[in-house]
Assembly symmetry: C2
Homo-oligomer: 452 residues x 2
Amino acid sequence: MTDAVDDVLEAVAERVEPDADERAALERAVDDLLERTTEAVEAVDLDVDVMHVGSTARDTWLSGDRDIDVFVRFPPSTDREVLRERGLAIGRAVLPDGEATFAEHPYITGTYDGFDVDVVPCLRVEAASEARTAVDRTPFHTAYVREHLAEHLAHDVRLAKGFLTAVGSYGSDLRTRGFGGYLLELLVLDHGGFRPLLEAAADWQPPVQYDLEEHATTDFDDALVVVDPTDPERNVAAVVSRTNVSRLQHHARSFLADPTAAAFEPPTPAPIEADEVLADLERRGTHALAVAFDRPDLLDDQLHPQLRRTEAGLATALEAADFEVVRSAAFATDDRAAVLFETEVATRPAIERHAGPPVHLADHAERFFERYVDDETVYGPFIADDRYVVERDRPYPNARDVLSPEAIDEAAHGQHVGAALEDGYDLLVGEDLVELLPEFGADLGDYFDPSP
Amino acid sequence: MTDAVDDVLEAVAERVEPDADERAALERAVDDLLERTTEAVEAVDLDVDVMHVGSTARDTWLSGDRDIDVFVRFPPSTDREVLRERGLAIGRAVLPDGEATFAEHPYITGTYDGFDVDVVPCLRVEAASEARTAVDRTPFHTAYVREHLAEHLAHDVRLAKGFLTAVGSYGSDLRTRGFGGYLLELLVLDHGGFRPLLEAAADWQPPVQYDLEEHATTDFDDALVVVDPTDPERNVAAVVSRTNVSRLQHHARSFLADPTAAAFEPPTPAPIEADEVLADLERRGTHALAVAFDRPDLLDDQLHPQLRRTEAGLATALEAADFEVVRSAAFATDDRAAVLFETEVATRPAIERHAGPPVHLADHAERFFERYVDDETVYGPFIADDRYVVERDRPYPNARDVLSPEAIDEAAHGQHVGAALEDGYDLLVGEDLVELLPEFGADLGDYFDPSP
């Protein structure tokens, strides 16, 4: 017997399941690419093999996905420089119009027959735990999923991916910090389906740990732990933010209580307009400050952690100057980046209370007293309870001065973001926030209409 | 051999020591008063005796002091109502123009021959520890000091009183919460002089305990403990505020390091002018709020603890509404009273962050979510880390509203001060603070030029 949840899951099948034409097109492209890669490899006098990896290799790809990952595996003893040079050469032979990309590891990315293709050199290490870089692990993941994931569960993985996409928590990239494909494959596998996964997630009492191979050798700190079946020391869910764990819990409950196909539709936010931004600022009564600057030349996975570091560093600096941050955010487009803060107030008094040592600690107390007794700029020293106190000039009576070039330079930053800020930035205060439009209209729309 | 400290102490002797004429006048007045009281007592058919108590009885009075205390001691079994009635009748007979005063205990206060005289009925209890009210203890204190304080130490007690007067910490009244006469007598007695007391105070490492009779039976919590030689369970210094302990330490060090006769001169503060108040507020950049009202009909010793309770209660209310208090004060004249606050800011945003339960606590979390999901007045619910969060209307975005009649009524108050505020008050905000002038000019002068 089926119920409303099952009915909806069946109804959304069409959205997530590739149809026969899509499958045929993919298979053709993959066959061609593997053949081209094998040919290119033969030109290299090394023991190199070729693997199709990723979700298209695992049959867990979503209808509409256009990603094909071809991995070229070199012997584990291969010199780093050789790997790089030969690997890129093979990639260029496969994708003559491709471009070299340098993340943790260089590879060639391009298109073939309408698909987005990566040709990635890696090391054919003995075990995932011996991986030098993340890409060395990927073939093990693909092999594990291929071996263990029954065909009917591939469909459930697609449902999981579709659901998390709609929630906005799909992807292990460092912007999203959500649930990646491999993680969802393991969760669906362990629960025997998407619906049992949802039911379990609704009831999670973090920390929650999954260990399909029952081989964990490490204590993990994360709220959600899924021990990598191919590497006992790795938590596949380590990248998932605490917020994304909670969001899955919320949306799982919400869907189970009121199952609708709409839960699988990603929201399509309308960019916010200037008058709405101004109305929100007026309504909220907060003090808005944004630092907007040219995006440094970084990949998303490098940029976003750095942006968050700068966001946290500047929030800390604002709070240290007694400008409590109501909320903050960081945004980036291809060209520009911005960190946004709403502080409780725009100004603090010119003075701040500065308590000295207890009066009975004679040496310290006398030094404190002598330092200030003839200082005309302070009020006091006077005595409150057991201590000397002065009211002295506050270093930053205005929030905006905490974001001055000199002060911003003192804060903690992501390295390249810090360097970009040294090159210059726009400080937008209060109503000037609208200058972030239209570039960051969708981001600001989310910001001023936050949802789970 | 004497040093600079001794030289100064000798030089100030004249200021504190009553001269022969003063002594003669006092003795005359005391003799007359005791005679008049004894006569009045004879009209009463009870076993009542008469005692001269206080500093004039102990020969520790300061030149210029005009206080004579005559105690009329009734048998310990005397009924409360009888004590009151007969006691006041005797007082009225001694001081026909005197007035009845009702503190813990009723008595007659008036003037005689230029002296301020109190005629106080009390119970002749067996021991100070059996005192029903504070006045029952006084005869024991007088007897103890008369018995133990050598004549040369009376002079040192006078120096101590003169010094603490100049510091502003002389008096066990509940406005000052300083060092009373009996306390200073005991401290001088224990140290064998004023200078050794100063030297000890400079080095105090609170908690400090003195116990002349080595008979303490209780653990005391106070920073300064002087066990009453006439009652092992009582700390004579219990009333001394922590600030006044520290002030004595500061001024003792300061005088020993740089002995000057000026240390015995009470400051004569010039009342602050309106333009100076405005300049200070501008300079400080704080937000001033004062609640000014008619003084309730209370003695100083009743009023000041209540004023402090109201000051603390309103400060707590302001801080609870996120208006951090930089400094506060409470003032009273014979007619008016005021509590003053300087807050860091005048306004907070219209909204405040309100974090709900962790999302994984399903029952609580769902209730929180349902409460707010359709509430158009809040931002959210959204998820931050493990919790639901909304930004909802802040109850008091303006500091002044925390001092509105409705809000002020919710705060903790001294009883009669709370009642007085219900009858009405003036709320003075920002520059309106000058309306406290000229009445509280000296208090505000101290406030804006605080010293140890």
